[in-house]
């Protein structure tokens, strides 16, 4: 046995199943993984990923004194900031950024926040999203189908089964096995559900009892409903299916790693297989055995060595990237960007300003709403410039300014360059650089 093989074996015994699977994959493909990230990099990364902002100076110093990575994950999961940040993330994922079709994002977000705070099992959460009936102004989950009333089946299959039926809507899928008949059969699950307006912008989703003469739906697994409660059976077929567990695991993996095991994460098809199938199956099995606990899956991923690899690489390499041999850079979401600027520049939270910032940075583009074009809006760059100008120059050392914005000390070269710059200019440069704007 060579010494290097012994090292691999030792690592394999000590590592988590996730790391074991990845190490085997790297070894088989002859790929060298990146080194593990620094404590400061980990802190910045985990805080952006779990609570949606960079750490404050005090939090950096506290973590430097006690760099307990697993402990930090546990601690952050219990904070209200975690539930708040993830509820915003999932609201945007589930319904986008507008209150289209009378859906009330805030009611949905509040419900998601409570669900995340109590670690409501993901299968239960999705079941409620699909089966909700109560008035949307009062009941969070109802807003999901109210928003997607036009083509609910496409959104549901994409989000929760990782399958896109868009093509099969008009013709048989060109790359996959889904036919137009499959689409039609899935669509019928929602045929007996109608949005009924209770008051302005307040809808309940009413289930009808379909007559015996009506064609019955059929799920992608071949399962057919045995009662008149088609939507309820659809929800059950969804959450009890293996693709649901895989999609759940893949969704969380994508969030933390910046790349899905199936990538794009919502387009599993014959032409787009998982990069590491064993890993996807392992995570899906764990999800089922742990009762779809969101917190448990987060711990599993965040405590893995794979999550904690450095993003510092000499050049990008699609092959290494696809099998997670280094950490992929993720641009901050608008919410993360605003909240991080607030921490870095020590400005007070202003909900109205935050809402405007989020709309400016992303919402129009994400919602494909071109009614207010970019030319007539303040660009993100201009807004950042204005913000930086409004903030008094920090009364702090260069080291502190770097720690506040980038969660690291300046390099010798940076110290030299900064000597001739004003504090305003340094602040401006720090919050405009890629290093600030990306989660790495």
């Amino acid at each position: 046995m060579t010494s290097s093989l012994a090292t691999w074996l030792l690592l394999a015994v000590a590592a988590s199943p996730v790391d074991q699977i990845l190490e085997t994959t790297w070894r088989e493909k002859g790929v060298e993984p990146a080194s593990v990230c620094t404590d400061e990099e980990f802190l910045r990364r985990i805080m952006l990923d779990l609570v949606g902002r960079i750490p404050s100076l005090d939090e950096v110093r506290s973590f430097q004194a006690n760099p307990d990575r697993a402990g930090k994950v546990d601690e952050l999961l219990t904070t209200s900031a975690f539930a708040r940040s993830w509820s915003e993330l999932w609201t945007a994922t589930f319904v986008g950024y507008s209150d289209a079709f009378g859906a009330d994002r805030e009611v949905l977000r509040t419900w998601l926040e409570e669900s995340l705070r109590t670690d409501k099992p993901y299968d239960q959460l999705v079941q409620q999203l699909i089966t909700a009936r109560e008035p949307s102004a009062l009941s969070g989950p109802t807003n999901f189908l109210v928003r997607h009333r036009e083509e609910p089946v496409m959104k549901v299959t994409q989000l929760f089964l990782g399958v896109r039926l868009d093509c099969a809507r008009c013709h048989d899928h060109p790359f996959d096995r889904w036919t137009q008949d499959d689409y039609e059969s899935m669509r019928r699950f929602f045929a007996a559900t109608r949005p009924q307006q209770v008051t302005d912008n307040n809808f309940q989703l009413v289930n009808s009892v379909p007559g015996d003469e009506v064609s019955r739906p059929r799920f992608l697994t071949g399962a057919t409903p045995r009662t008149t409660q088609w939507r309820d059976e659809f929800a059950l077929f969804t959450i009890r299916s293996k693709p649901f567990a895989r999609t759940f695991a893949n969704r969380l993996w994508y969030h933390f790693m910046g790349r899905g095991i199936v990538h794009p994460s919502d387009d599993a098809n014959a032409e787009n297989p998982p990069a590491v199938p064993e890993l996807l199956e392992h995570l899906a099995d764990q999800a089922r055995s742990e009762g779809f606990s969101i917190h448990a899956m987060i711990r599993r991923i965040c405590n893995s060595q794979a999550y904690q690899l450095s993003s510092r690489i000499e050049r990008s390499d699609p092959q290494r990237e696809a099998i997670f041999a280094y950490r992929v850079l993720k641009p901050m979401t608008p919410e993360q960007m605003y909240d991080s600027l607030q921490v870095a520049l020590q400005i007070e939270a202003n909900p109205v300003q935050r809402r405007a910032f989020i709309r400016v940075v992303a919402a129009d583009a994400l919602d494909s709403d071109f009614s207010n074009t970019w030319e007539y809006r303040e660009t993100a760059q201009a807004l950042l410039t204005r913000l930086a100008r409004q903030i008094p120059p920090p009364d702090a050392s260069l080291d502190e300014m770097y720690l506040r914005t980038l969660t690291r000390q300046p390099t010798a070269r940076e110290r030299e360059l900064c000597q001739t710059q004003t504090r305003e200019a340094i602040t401006f440069a720090l919050i405009h650089g890629n290093e600030f704007c990306f989660n790495h």
Partner: protein, 509 residues
């Protein structure tokens, strides 16, 4: 006693007007029994409660059934049974809606029908509503008579429309379309306040979660206005005393200035322009500067300069209109405020605000603006198809097909309503009360009847699960005990649960 199944069809036709068309989530045109089932989470709780109280004794199938009620397939299958029962009951209620309505108010008396005892209040309200609607239909008819000759009937489509407009069906059919705009009433207040409030579980209004910041901002803004209002009222009152009253104009001005609502309206106007507190006090100063410039002191008191009378008169006219609108809207706002769930300060502040002068002044103008005359409503409907040129209505060329469809549908719907309306007329002829007989035979009376029957139908709350449970289980002090028929039902449910379980085994693709 009463056999009026054909009346039910009339009800459905009438009830269909003005109701938002609801499409299924999958845009499915296929036949289905259109009956809502109970709410999902609510029925889940009922099933859980039922399972806990079910007396299984030593029966194995009941014991297995009890366990099944704790599973997802079990809940779905039982919910299915409940939904079917709810659908049956609602279908029957819909079929009998008109008969039930008539039974509620009338009883057989010899060969005719007389109002039941205790129906005096219903009678008065019915007659009043019928009369009002008949008048409104006549106003619509007059508006149609005035508008129709202006249409340039150059194409077959426009000729068809003109034929309809000149027919006896035009007025009642158009009335159904424009009725919500003629008397917006509480609906307008509901719509305006519905942007912030939603009716909660106990029927009380609660602030929508996503609108809380807006609700807070509105209260804060109102508070700022209130700060301005109080000194403004004092000063206006003082000005009223300072005014001389040599003529009616000055007397009107004095009365207006002495009315506390005048100051509220002035404050509302100032804040309409989005003024901040500092700017607001400047605006108040400007207002009084304007008054000073408009008046001059005389031995008897202040009088308005001749050249300023027109402006002040305009202001007084505006005030009189706003005062009237505010008084109309005030009871509606008070009624709304009474239904706000006063759980926290914000809800209490809103309730207080809606009961005050400021809300009446703010909502009054939009209430007034929301009302339209029959002429305007008709013209607005036709404006979608025609454009006005030199006092003539010319068809917008691309709308020919739309006009043809519209006119054909109106003809068809009217003939349908007329045919079904004969049954109501027959019933009306047998009513012993002459005034009620005439009212029931009129179009307005039929409209009132259909609206009230539809309202009663919408208020029916069918507990499908309770119906199912009552059919098969007896409620005792010890819990729910199976009736004889329950065992077959339980066997059937267990078989269905097994079938759902079989389908769930297909879990991959």
């Amino acid at each position: 006693m009463l056999n009026h199944t054909r009346l039910t069809a009339l009800l459905i036709v009438f009830a269909g007007f003005g109701v938002t068309h609801i499409q299924s989530l999958a845009q499915e045109p296929e036949a289905a029994t259109e009956q809502p089932t109970s709410a999902g989470e609510a029925i889940r709780d009922q099933i859980t409660d039922f399972a806990a109280k079910l007396q299984v004794g030593g029966d194995q199938s009941l014991s297995k059934f009890q366990q099944t009620l704790g599973t997802e397939p079990g809940v779905i299958v039982v919910n299915d049974r409940a939904a079917r029962r709810a659908a049956d009951v609602l279908a029957k209620a819909q079929a009998n809606a008109l008969t039930d309505y008539l039974k509620l108010h009338f009883e057989q008396s010899g060969d005719g029908y007389a109002l039941r005892d205790g129906q005096q209040e219903y009678r008065e309200a019915y007659l009043k509503s019928s009369e009002r609607i008949n008048k409104e239909i006549e106003a619509v008819a007059a508006a149609i008579r005035e508008t129709t000759p202006k249409i340039d009937a150059e194409t077959d489509a426009t000729k068809l429309l003109v034929r309809f407009l000149e027919s006896e069906g035009a007025a009642p059919m158009f009335y159904f379309v424009v009725q919500p705009y003629l008397r917006p009433g509480g609906a307008l207040i509901d719509r305006e306040l519905g942007k912030v409030f939603v009716r909660g579980e106990q029927g009380k209004y609660v602030i929508r979660a996503g609108r809380r910041p807006d609700a807070e901002q509105f209260v804060e803004r109102s508070r700022q206005q209130t700060v301005v209002i109080s000194p403004l009222q004092k000063e206006m009152s003082a000005w009223a005393k300072d005014l001389a009253t040599p003529d009616d104009f000055h007397k009107r001005m004095q009365a207006a200035f002495a009315d506390p609502l005048f100051a509220v309206l002035v404050a509302t106007k100032i804040y309409e322009k989005g003024n901040q507190p500092g700017q607001a006090s400047m605006q108040v100063n400007k207002f009084f500067e304007g008054l000073e410039n408009a008046c001059r002191d005389t031995v008897d008191g202040l009088v308005v300069r001749d050249e300023a009378q027109a402006d002040i008169d305009k202001l007084l006219t505006e005030f009189a209109r706003a005062q009237q609108a505010s008084e109309q809207v005030r009871p509606m706002l008070t009624q709304y405020a009474d239904r706000i769930q006063a759980d926290d300060d914000l809800h209490r502040q809103w309730a207080e605000l809606l009961r005050g002068d400021l809300a009446a002044a703010m909502f009054g103008p939009s209430y007034e603006a929301g009302k339209v005359t029959p002429e305007v409503a008709i013209q607005a409907t036709l404006a979608k198809m025609f454009t006005e040129q030199d006092g003539r209505l010319k068809m917008i060329s691309q709308n020919e097909e739309e006009i043809e469809k519209f006119a054909s549908k109106m003809f068809r719907d009217y003939r349908d309503a007329r045919r079904r309306g004969h049954s109501v007329t027959e019933f009306a002829a047998k009513i012993t009360d002459p005034e009620m007989r005439d009212a029931f035979a009129s179009t307005g009376g039929k409209f009132v009847m259909a609206t009230e029957a539809k309202q009663a139908l919408s208020e029916i709350n069918v507990e499908g699960f309770a119906l199912w449970r009552h059919e098969f289980f007896e409620s005792t002090d010890a819990g729910y005990v199976a009736k004889a028929a329950a065992f077959e039902e339980v066997r059937s449910i267990l078989a269905d649960v097994e079938k759902v379980g079989e389908e769930l085994k297909k879990d991959d693709f």
